[in-house]
């Protein structure tokens, strides 16, 4: 009965607010999200080109791809369409570290190991035959939620990683990639989840930054006079996580182009809550527009039902308007949501 009363109240409140929302300039149905993306992008080169990094070549593919790319540059050749690279320059250039303990104890080694370089190209729609490119770097200065500092992670992985059978005398010694057995994989997954949960219950800081530039290669020919830089972007992200409860986030973003005024943004937000209630609050200041204030409360009800209440400001000429949204979301596929 109590749940039914709550549901009816939420529905009535939601209906009224939805009517109100329809009179605002922007009545999209999506719940309020952060206006500013507080995470420094993993692949700044893709962000500066407004590309999705889903086709990024990672891991082992990065090295041969990078070598091919360097060969093309060196030969002054024509770039292939849609090259997408995302790799760590320290390891690619032959950097090594002795062990996990060395990673934990040496700040600069850790900094190098977590630096990410990205490079991407795509066709220039406005300049047929030419190509847009983006390059970017991402640095992690501090991450107090790095799970590699957890003392359980490594030994637990070792325990489940060990083969159940021993080697054969005179057998082939060529390394091959194998799928771990179901129980080993499940056990390692459980270790990662347990360690991640434990680490996220601790308070701590995270500081990262990124830089990217994009440009155009006219006629896709790599010569000094055919390459023109068009845009620079920078990010600095800072966050402090209060253990079980809230995370305070701050981010400064700058976007500079040669034919437009700089677009600088700074924001501060709070994200967090409990297993039943989530809260997001944010203020964003922008050099080219009015500040935006907003936030939402998301309450998990029962049976996959959520109630979401949203408030945010929108510019209406010289004044502010307040956008109010209230909605119910039901996901029958996730009753415990």
């Amino acid at each position: 009965m109590k749940k039914l009363t709550l549901l009816c109240s939420a529905f009535l409140l939601g209906s009224g607010a939805l009517l109100q929302a329809q009179n605002t300039p922007d009545s999209d149905t999506a719940a309020y999200k952060f206006v500013l993306d507080y995470d420094v992008p993993e692949s700044p080169a893709f962000t500066v080109l407004d590309l999705s990094p889903s086709n990024v070549l990672r891991g082992s593919a990065a090295k041969p791809a990078a070598v091919n790319l360097i060969n093309q540059f060196a030969a002054g050749g024509k770039l292939q369409n849609g090259v997408a690279l995302d790799f760590n320059p320290y390891f690619l250039l032959g950097g090594r570290m002795k062990s996990l303990n060395a990673y934990r104890q040496n700040y600069w080694l850790r900094f190098a190991a977590n630096t990410q370089f990205s490079f991407a190209t795509t066709n220039a729609v406005d300049e047929p035959g030419s190509m847009l490119y983006g390059t970017g770097l991402r640095f992690t200065f501090l991450d107090q939620h790095d799970i590699l500092f957890d003392q359980e992670l490594g030994p637990a992985i070792d325990r489940f990683l060990a083969p159940s059978q021993t080697g054969t005398v005179g057998g082939s010694e060529t390394p091959t990639t194998v799928a771990l057995g179901g129980s080993a994989k499940d056990s390692i997954d459980a270790v990662y989840k347990r360690v991640t949960d434990r680490v996220m219950k601790k308070s701590g800081w995270g500081i990262s930054a990124g830089f990217a530039s994009s440009g155009i290669v006219y006629n896709s020919i790599l010569k000094s006079d055919s390459i023109h830089v068009q845009r620079y972007m920078t990010w600095v992200g800072v966050q402090y996580h209060f253990g079980n409860y809230f995370t305070v986030l701050g981010n400064v973003q700058g976007r500079y182009t040669f034919d437009h005024a700089p677009d600088n943004r700074a924001g501060i937000g709070i994200r967090g809550g409990t297993s039943k209630v989530n809260l997001i609050l944010e203020t964003v200041w922008a050099s080219n527009s009015r500040p935006v204030y907003g936030g939402n409360v998301e309450v998990k009800l029962f049976g996959g039902l959520k109630y979401i209440f949203t408030l945010s400001t929108v510019s209406a000429g010289d004044a502010y308007a307040v956008r109010v949204k209230s909605s119910l979301r039901w996901n029958p596929g996730r009753p415990t949501n």
Partner: protein, 137 residues
């Protein structure tokens, strides 16, 4: 197939197996001492050993050096990358006696690339083995 041999002193100290891995790779193996019986190798001693957080670990073989003549050491090793950016590195196994590395007719050293991340459910696997020979200095 080139069989690998290791020459040890039957009157020396116990044999130690050392496994090392760099770049924070996890290398965890199932190792054994095996004795040839007719045409088959039979496991007489078996253990699990991993390079660990320090990148290196030692295990002392229980079988006495003098009894290792003609016996084999074999291992099956799984490796995965703990650092998302470090999917390459080296794994090495050394055989030591009295703290000194024993000569091998072929090194037990692997340069690995494309090692799967530990949370991927995959691993890079390789086998290794050698046969002990004794030589009294």
């Amino acid at each position: 197939m080139n069989q690998r041999y290791c020459i040890l002193n039957p009157n020396g100290g116990p044999i130690t197996i050392r496994i090392s891995a760099n770049n924070a790779l996890r290398a965890s193996g199932n190792f054994s001492i095996q004795t040839k019986s007719l045409d088959n190798w039979q496991v007489t001693e078996q253990w699990q050993q991993a390079a660990g957080d320090t990148g290196s670990s030692d295990h002392t073989v229980q079988t006495a050096p003098a009894a290792l003549e003609g016996k084999a050491f074999a291992g099956l090793i799984n490796c995965c990358a703990l650092l998302a950016n470090a999917d390459m590195g080296a794994v090495e196994i050394q055989v030591l006696q009295n703290g000194v590395s024993l000569p091998l007719t072929k090194p037990m050293h692997w340069n690995l690339i494309g090692v799967p991340n530990c949370n991927s459910g995959n691993a890079q696997q390789f086998n290794t083995s050698l046969i002990f020979l004794t030589h009294q200095p």
